[in-house]
């Protein structure tokens, strides 16, 4: 019996030794270390969101929820719940801010990038370098003058600075346009301009060339710029934190921060809301990974 066991163990060991060299063994160990380190927090976020208050507040952590309990989600969405969070409106606010930001950034940067990539004009390089410089500016440095400036104009022209989603979209544009412009300019420079030249000689206007030739040729880049700017707006915390005071207008990050800092801690609710905010980003990212990866590198590397 024991003999057989050792025999069997040895064969498994032999099998592994034959199959894996030491190098491969280390490779797999390191890979598993990375994967566990990356994925555990995400597992913990999703699984905690399906726990009950009892499971969250127990003496020791519950690694696998007993069943998929929707208590946390009920607090977020069910008006009958005693501490109903009305998270639906926060999702709506986030969409209302991120989609226009991404759309406007893409449209404006198509025009701007076309001009920079196709025309020679005075101040072109200064403009592009100036845009690059913005990468180095601390967001905190800009928020004080922005806040002061916008407050000044607000009392001058009679609009609200705080609790105004339009103001938030405008400040997000200042953060996303430089990135979008830079990415698209680099992309347009890689498209050969012979077709555009031919269309111009045939008498097409530049606007027509842009809509009929340049845009269709750069759909992948446009999608990636859209998603990239959408993600910036969707994830943004500091500006929304400063510019929004009313719970009705909170974007998701601010509402989650509010729930987290509630005197009675309810981590499962925080995790449920975080899951809702993270899931679309992960899905978008996984489905368009090929485009986005290039965009992430292009956003960081010059040229």
């Amino acid at each position: 019996m024991t003999n057989m066991n050792t025999q069997k163990k040895q064969t498994i060991f032999d099998y592994l030794a034959a199959k894996l060299s030491l190098k491969q063994f280390i490779f797999w160990i390191v890979l598993i270390f990375f994967l566990v380190g990356i994925l555990f927090p995400f597992y913990w976020m999703v699984s905690s969101s399906f726990k009950t208050y009892a499971e969250i507040g127990g003496r020791s952590p519950v690694y696998v929820p007993s069943e998929l309990r929707l208590d946390a989600y009920r607090e977020l969405f069910d008006p009958a719940h005693p501490s109903y969070q009305n998270f639906g409106r926060n999702i709506r606010n986030s969409v209302l801010v991120s989609v226009p930001t991404a759309l406007i950034a893409v449209i404006l940067s198509i025009l701007g990038a076309y001009a920079i990539a196709r025309f020679k004009f005075k101040g072109r390089d200064a403009l592009l370098n100036g845009v690059l410089l913005i990468y180095l500016f601390p967001g905190v440095l800009l928020i004080i003058p922005l806040f002061a400036m916008l407050s000044h104009f607000a009392s001058m022209f009679g609009f609200e600075v705080q609790d105004n989603l339009v103001v938030l979209v405008i400040t997000y544009l200042s953060q996303t346009l430089p990135v979008a412009l830079y990415m698209l300019t680099n992309y347009f420079r890689t498209i050969p301009d012979e077709i555009e030249q031919a269309a111009l000689i045939d008498g097409c206007s530049h606007m027509r060339v842009i809509t009929k030739i340049t845009i269709p040729l750069s759909v992948p880049a446009l999608v990636s710029v859209f998603i990239y700017t959408f993600m910036i707006a969707w994830n943004e915390f500091l500006y929304a934190f400063i510019f929004l005071n009313s719970r009705n207008l909170f974007t998701m990050p601010i509402q989650i921060n509010t729930i987290f800092n509630d005197p009675s801690p309810r981590p499962h609710v925080v995790m449920a809301a975080s899951t809702i905010m993270t899931l679309p980003i992960i899905i978008l990212f996984l489905s368009l990974e090929k485009f986005l990866e290039k965009g992430l590198v292009a956003g960081g590397v010059k040229g």
Binding site: K23, F27, V30, F34, I38, F40, P41, F42, M45, S60, P61, L108, L111, G112, A115, I116, F119, L127, V131, I134, L136, P138, G139, V140, L141, L142, I144, P145, L146, A148, M149, S151, H152, S155, I170, T171, S174, L177, P178, W234, N235, F237, L238, P253, N257, P267, M271, S274, M277, I281, I282, F285, L286, E289, L292, E293, L296, V297, G300, V301
Partner: protein, 312 residues
Amino acid sequence: MKNSGRKGKSITLRQREERLAWRLIAPTAIIVLGLVLFPAIFNVWISFHKVNLGALRDVFSAPFNGLANYKNVLNDFSFKFQNFQNMGVVVTSIIYSLASTILTVLLGLGAALLLNRPFKGRGLTRAVFLFPYVAPIVSVAFVWRWILDPRQSGVMNDVLMKLGVIDMPQAYLSTRGLALLLVIIFEAWRYFPFAMLMILARLQAIDDALYEAAEVDGANTWQKFMHITIPELRYVLGATFLLRLLWTFNKFDDIFLLTGGGFGTKVLPILTYEFSFKTFNFGKGAAAAMLQLVLVLAFMLVYLKFVMKEED
């Protein structure tokens, strides 16, 4: 006659194109100039004026304050280095950004080397490796806080107690020293995918012939790594390091969400935020932001002049 006419026409064509270019770029330029460049300059102005909450109605007539704001920041007790228990924001910021950037680049290098080998499921693994970087900061920061929960039911406490590393539950993010270390580790966890992507792109561009030649000469893996891979990666490592260092130095959200800037983790952006939006002393906040910018620019000049130049 004919000649000069053609010349005149070509000039107007060029002018027309130039005008069109400016019209196309105008909306972007106006937004960038108005909401980035002008505020950046305006910040300098604010830092020399007495601007508080009441002054916001009519900022431009706020009274001149000389260097008072700068003096206030420099004399602020949380700014100055006092002792190793209270290092002050400048020293904390430098330790935090240097340590987390080095760790980020090292992890990124490791991950890039890992994913540079072909194996089954590499595409998916690569995508998964980017999760920490693309996920919203609020979600990941709060998951980390929940994992590091000070109660006995926190995962980190549970695991370490079962392993016998600690006897009592620890309040990780509210213990001086430990909090800073964990914030640094969090930064590396979140941003290594960026370094990984940059390094991976360069790794895949290295000519295989170099390795083949080295193999013919009898080089082992370590020698190939040290004499081919690292020299080929030098430029991208240097650039990634610089970029990440600057971005980390300017980062506000991560520390604010993890510790709120408490327990020895207060960095310059947090101090700037507190001056302007907690005590509503915008002039002092602007001065703190200017000092931060000066530090960033000084570092960049030194780095570009000495480190990057040597690599050319």
